[in-house]
């Protein structure tokens, strides 16, 4: 299970998560994910292209951090690339209607800066 971040300019951060976002995987990254994501007015693109399995506990972590970010005038977006299984899970659960989801990174970046 991996989680890294890269700052793109002063207010946009890309957080890349890889591996299985199941119970142990989500517990392993939960604290670092929150610390990396949540800050005042921060725009965050969560890159899920390398996530091999997305369970409800992983979705819960994403929603929790997206809400915390929104309450601090920030914004979260999701980048899924060609990861069809993760995209399907996000669509099935309606998460894509709550947090904008993109298949290409440049579109996510443009939306984050709007």
């Amino acid at each position: 299970m991996g989680i890294t971040f890269e700052d793109i300019g002063s207010q946009l951060r890309r957080i890349e998560i890889s591996g299985r976002l199941d119970i142990p995987g989500t517990e392993e990254i939960a604290i670092r994910f929150a610390a990396m994501a949540v800050a005042d007015q921060r725009k965050v693109i969560v890159d899920l292209t390398q996530v091999s399995f997305l369970a409800s506990i992983g979705i819960r972590a994403i929603i929790t951090n997206a809400k915390a970010l929104q309450s601090r005038n920030g914004k979260m977006l999701l980048h899924v690339g060609d990861n069809a299984s993760v995209a399907k899970t996000l669509t099935t659960t309606g998460v894509d209607t709550l947090i904008p989801m993109f298949t290409d990174f440049s579109s996510a970046e443009r939306a984050a800066r709007d």
């Binding site: 299985r20 199941d22 119970i23 142990p24 517990e27 399995f53 369970a55 409800s56 506990i57 979705i59 819960r60 972590a61 929603i63 929790t64 997206a66 809400k67 929104q70 299984s85 899970t89 099935t92 659960t93 309606g94 209607t97 709550l98 947090i99």
Partner: protein, 149 residues
Amino acid sequence: MARWQARTSSTLTIFADGAEVRRAADWLERSGCDLEVPPAQIERLDLCLHEALANVISHSGVPPHETVSLRLDVRHLQDGHEASVTIMDSGSPFDVTKAKSKAAPVKLADADPGGLGLLMIRSNCDAMTHARRNGHNELSITVRWLNAH
């Protein structure tokens, strides 16, 4: 009506602990592969099994030192195939097939981040049955696929 052609099974016993879901997933992948279940169908069952186990571990009242039994049955029929994973736990009675899925929120601010597991099971399986036998819940989750042509 399709006639049974062959049936094969594999079993595993795990503890009702979150750390054990990886062992269950590894068993499902290995057993499914051995029993000729296509990877796409194993992926569907993997998600269903994880969510069912998460429910047992978090809500059934089964302590982590008690066990949960798993069984994978694969049936090859004349016109297709089906694979069922059955989860047997000693927790409080809970018929997941009768539980209501929660309504999808419209706004992020209103979103309750919990309770998506049942929706994920329902959207990834073709059938689901529950029985209560000898003080145990028996939840069977089935996926089906057609013969390759």
